[in-house]
Symmetry: C2
Subunit: 245 residues, 2 copies
C-alpha cells in the first residue's frame, strides 16, 4: 500500500496537501475508495481510505491506527562535515534507511564547500525532502531531522545535554568503536562526528575531545572516504544497539 506524509490530522480523518496530494493524484492516480497508509512523524501509522479528492487536499478516513516497531530504539545522530556533490545526499538517504535519528551538516576547516545564508537554508530543505522520501521508502514512521548547517560551537545547543559524542579519526590507532560503545549508555543519544573529504584538522578533533568529551575511535586500518565512514559508523552503532536485527 502507498505511504503518504499527513499534512493535517483530525478526528478519524487526515488530509494530504501540496506535493503529497500531487503525488497521489497525478503520479499514482489513486481514486476514492483506494486504501493508503499515512504517517505524521508521531510514531503512529494510519491505514485509511480515500474519501474525497479536492483541488487543494485529499481527505482520507482513518480505518486503523498502529504503532509499528520500525524505528530504531537508539537515538543515533550523524554530524557530517560539508562535502561536495551528492555525497551528503546519499549519506542522508542511506542513513535514513538504516535508522538515524537526524543529521547535522557541519562547517569544518577543510570543507571544500561553503554554505551560507539562503543557499544553506535551501540546501537543508532539499536534504529534508530526501530524508522524507527515504523514510517513506524504508517504511519508517518518523523522518530524521536535518538540522541547519552549523558550526562546532553550536553543536551542544542542537542535541540533548546527555548526548554521547563519537569521532572516528585516522590518527586514533588503538581505541575501537566497540570498546567505546561498551562504556556508553544506550538510553542516551549518540552523535557520530564525520569529517569532510580532507578529514578533520587535529585542532578540531582536540576541540571535540575537550568541549564535547568526544571519544575518538578507529574504524580500522583502511582509509575510508568520508561518506563511507559515516554509513559504516552508523551501521556499527545501530548493529551494536540491536537496531539492525
Amino acid at each position: 500500500m502507498h505511504r503518504f506524509k499527513i499534512s493535517e490530522i483530525g478526528n478519524n480523518v487526515f488530509w494530504l496537501k501540496g506535493p503529497e496530494r500531487e503525488h497521489l493524484v497525478r503520479v499514482l492516480r489513486l481514486s476514492i475508495g483506494d486504501e493508503i497508509i499515512g504517517f505524521d512523524n508521531s510514531g503512529a501509522e494510519y491505514k485509511a481510505v480515500i474519501e474525497a479528492i479536492g483541488d487543494k487536499s485529499v481527505t482520507c478516513k482513518i480505518l486503523e491506527k498502529d504503532y509499528p516497531e520500525v524505528e530504531a530504539m537508539a537515538q543515533v545522530y550523524l554530524v557530517a562535515g560539508l562535502s561536495k556533490g551528492e555525497k551528503m545526499e546519499w549519506v542522508i538517504q542511506k542513513g535514513t534507511e538504516l535508522g538515524m535519528a537526524g543529521l547535522i551538516p557541519l562547517r569544518t576547516k577543510r570543507a571544500v564547500m561553503k554554505l551560507e545564508g539562503a543557499k544553506a537554508k535551501n540546501r537543508v530543505e532539499r536534504w529534508q525532502k530526501i530524508a522524507a522520501e527515504a523514510a517513506k521508502q524504508s517504511h519508517r514512521v518518523k523522518e530524521p531531522k536535518i538540522f541547519p548547517v552549523s558550526n562546532w560551537k553550536e553543536l551542544t545547543e542542537l542535541l540533548p545535554k546527555d548526548t554521547q559524542w563519537l569521532i572516528p579519526y585516522e590518527n586514533e590507532q588503538s581505541q575501537g568503536l566497540k570498546t567505546v560503545l561498551d562504556k556508553l549508555d544506550p538510553q542516551c543519544p549518540i552523535a557520530i562526528l564525520i569529517g569532510p573529504e580532507g578529514g578533520f584538522e587535529e585542532k578540531e578533533v582536540q576541540w571535540s575531545q575537550e568541549e564535547l568529551k568526544a571519544h575518538s575511535v578507529t574504524l580500522g586500518p583502511r582509509i575510508l572516504r568520508a561518506e563511507t565512514a559515516a554509513i559504516a559508523a552508523l551501521t556499527l552503532v545501530l548493529g551494536y544497539t540491536g537496531d539492525l536485527g
Copy 2:
C-alpha cells in the same frame, strides 16, 4: 606518497606500464628520483624510487618491502544481484574500502538488468577498475576480485568449498545476523547474498538454503535498498570479525 599497481616485478625492481605509467607521467607528472609506493596484490607493499621513465614503462628501484596490516583477516564476499545504474559501482567502491575480499555479480529472477556475453565481460572489467582505484585510495595491498557475472548454480564453483553463506531476507523476521555469526567459523570465507532492487524471489531464497545451506538473516524492520543492505551487511560482518577497528 602516491600508490601504483605493479605491472611487472623483478629483483629489487618493478615496472609500471599502461594506465599506471600514464597516470604517473601525464597526470601526476612525477620524475626520476621521486619516491612512490607499489603493490602487486601479493599482500606486500614496496617503497621505491623512480629510476627511468620510458615511453612504454617506468622503472622503479625497490627501497623497502613491507607487509602492512591493512587487509581484513576475515574473507568476506558480496554476491550482489545485478541492479541498474551506478548501484553496483558504488557497492564495489564502498565494499572495497571496507575490506571485502571480492564480489560476484549475480543474475536473479527479478533483475531489471540483463548482462550477457561481451557486454557482461566489459562491465566486469570496468567494475574491476573501480575496485582497483578504491583499493589504492583506501591503501589496500590486495584488490578485491570482481568475478564474472554468474548464475546461482555457478556460485559453489567460484568460492571455496568451506564458504559460509548468508542471505539477508525481508521475510526472515527473527534470526539476526549476530546470532548466525556466533555459529560460523571466522577462519572460513563468508559470502553475503544480496538481491536486486526487487529483492530475491522466495524460490531463490529456498534454493540458497537447500543448496548452499545459506543462513537467512534479518537486518531489522526497516526496508533497505539493495545497495544499502549490501554495505550494511558487509559492515556488520567485518565489524563482528574485528576488521573495522
